[in-house]
């Protein structure tokens, strides 16, 4: 796929009174990409989406869509369409009228309009729902109607504002798969706003993680999970054990660190990393620590005592106190063996791989 930019956001800020909702955002989203804006509530991700939709105007900066400066262009004249968080299904219209809402203005003629509405309903797998009223639909169906209503306009960019957050877990997982395959079949650039890291990881080609009106990191899902740039990003995307380490050596791209209990490792520097003094923060994901059973051994081992446990069915989460470490280590153990023996107070041995250690920028360190 050629990486032609579809959306270019340059120096965009948005102030509400004295509150700075967005602070100098710079992002480029390639054509045909499934792009996610991920962050906690209040981080500005929805504000940014509304700026892309033209429902709001930035206080500073420019937004280009498909090479055209759209900063001042209002929503009704942009090549973007949006799926609203509340779905915003028109209650006084039936499903077909909802889906055909935006087509009326294009004066395509009755036959072409009907054909495109039917095609869009087919695409979201609601072919026989045209005559239903908006208030006769379930949450999942409303979401599909909202999708069809936006896709029928054949936008260059489809904007989705937490489209799955109102659905129950099982339906949400189904819709994730459907949304992904839909995006691949239509080839339209999707921009998804979500606070759910699993959703972002599962659906996206690229993710921008946002905090307090700023973009903390932009990368592919695996990169963002395995090499989070900052402590905040690491913490937001799943759990992470943070350890303080001493810097023992530095090259252009790597840093050699000595940890208190997890040995010495040569780690890749994240983008924008600057060491402050001779201390650095390293992290290790809970699932990269493994319980050693019976007489199993590993090249790198730790011994500790279980401080707390939470049983989740397929996994058990443990906090293991290790002598010489300030905070207990969180670990996630798959319950394929010996889950009953993981009792509070039990002494266990853990295996880890020094390659699983990552270096993160930590403003607090």
């Amino acid at each position: 796929m050629p990486d032609r930019p579809m959306i270019e956001i340059a120096g965009v800020s948005r102030n509400f009174g004295t509150f700075r909702a967005l602070d100098d955002i710079n992002l480029t989203i390639a054509e045909g990409q499934f792009f996610s804006l991920l962050g906690p509530s209040g981080c500005g991700k929805t504000t940014l989406l509304r700026l892309l939709a033209g429902l709001d105007v930035p206080s500073a900066g420019t937004i280009r869509i498909d090479g055209e400066d759209c900063t001042e262009i209002r929503a009704n004249a942009r090549p973007t369409n949006m799926v609203f968080q509340s779905y915003a299904i028109f209650p006084h219209l039936n499903v077909a009228e909802n889906v055909g809402y935006g087509l009326k203005r294009l004066r395509l003629g009755r036959a072409e309009e009907d054909r495109r509405v039917a095609e869009a309903l087919e695409m979201v797998r609601l072919p026989d729902f045209g005559r239903r009223k908006g208030n006769e639909l379930s949450g999942g169906q409303r979401q599909r109607v909202a999708l069809a209503r936006a896709l029928v306009m054949r936008p260059k960019v489809l904007l989705l504002d937490e489209p799955l957050s109102a659905l129950d877990k099982k339906l949400r997982e189904e819709m994730q798969i459907e949304l992904r395959s839909l995006q691949q079949s239509v080839g339209i650039t999707f921009v998804l706003v979500t606070h759910d890291q699993y959703e972002a990881l599962a659906l996206s080609d690229r993710i921008a993680v946002m905090f307090a009106g700023r973009v903390a990191q932009v990368a592919e899902p695996m990169e963002i999970y395995q090499h989070p740039a900052t402590r905040q990003v690491a913490d937001f995307l799943g759990g992470m054990n943070f350890l303080s380490a001493r810097i023992a050596g530095e090259t252009g791209e790597t840093l050699t660190v000595e940890t208190d209990r997890l040995g010495t490792a040569v780690l890749r520097k994240p983008a924008g990393f600057t060491a402050s003094g001779n201390r650095a923060t390293v992290g290790i994901r809970p699932e990269r620590l493994r319980v050693l059973w019976d007489d199993e051994t590993a090249p790198h081992m730790l011994t500790g005592r279980i401080a707390s446990r939470a049983y989740f069915g397929e996994t058990t989460s443990l906090a293991v106190a290790i002598e010489g470490l300030d905070a207990p280590l969180s670990i996630v153990e798959t319950n394929d063996y010996g889950a009953d023996e993981l009792k509070i107070g039990a002494e266990i041995r853990l295996a880890y791989d020094p390659e699983a250690l990552v270096l993160v920028s930590d403003p607090a360190a």
């Binding site: 033209g54 369409n81 294009l106 306009m153």
Partner: protein, 293 residues
Amino acid sequence: MKRTTRSWRDREDLRGLALISPTVLYALALLLVPVAMVILYSFWKQSFMTIDHTFRLSNYEAAFTQPIYRALFLRSLWISLTVSLVTVVMAYPVAWYISFHGGRNKNLWLFVITVPFLTSYLLRVMAWKVVLGHNGVVNSALMWLGLIHQPIEALLYTANSVVITLVHSWVAFAILPIFVSMEKIDRSLVEAGRDLGDSAFRSFRRIVLPLSLPGVISAFVIVMIPTIGDYVTPTLVGGRDGMMIANIIQTNFGQAQNWPMGAALSVSAMVLVSLAAGIMVLLLRLLVNGVRR
């Protein structure tokens, strides 16, 4: 502890009935009974000082055939329709402005609208005499500006003065239901309309207008029903040309001492206003259904 019988206090439905019963009894005693009496009277006949209690339709015959009654019915209907229409047309933009652009001051706006109600209805109607009269505010101002050389007599004691006064009396009652129906419109619906290509006006026409229709209909009916039978305003500012059906009903119960005739006119007015209100509701629905496409 085990209880086998439950007190009526524990039954949700009974408790509800108990709560509304004072209102229901009050309404029954003061609405249903008098209405039933009026209906009964309308089928009797006044013969000099006594009432002939045999069932007859002659009062209704008179109500629908005598030119004076027909003229007054038509005028009342015409005035109330005009008042409702003008009131709703004037109230709609105000309600829209408060709901969509009132921002933080919504409550202040609503308060300002209800301020005129701090003075009595009678006083507000009387005030229009001062405004519209021979030497009134309007005439004096126009004379002073040199736009007219003698006072316009058509301002007061005509059907127009009744319409003007009634619109002023009722406009707040029209703003409130329209405002409430607009407040219930999810703002993301309007944004969705814009996102799908509507101009601001088009999204108003296709979304806000049809969804605020229930408010428009209630406003129309709220204004129309009481104005058709209004008595105070035509008495004070209507003169001979602004007389309405309520005035002649009053005359029948009063000076003319013909209660059965007054009763028949009252019942006819009730039926007429219900029909007219029903037809208006249907027409408005059709109109807006046509507009939103």
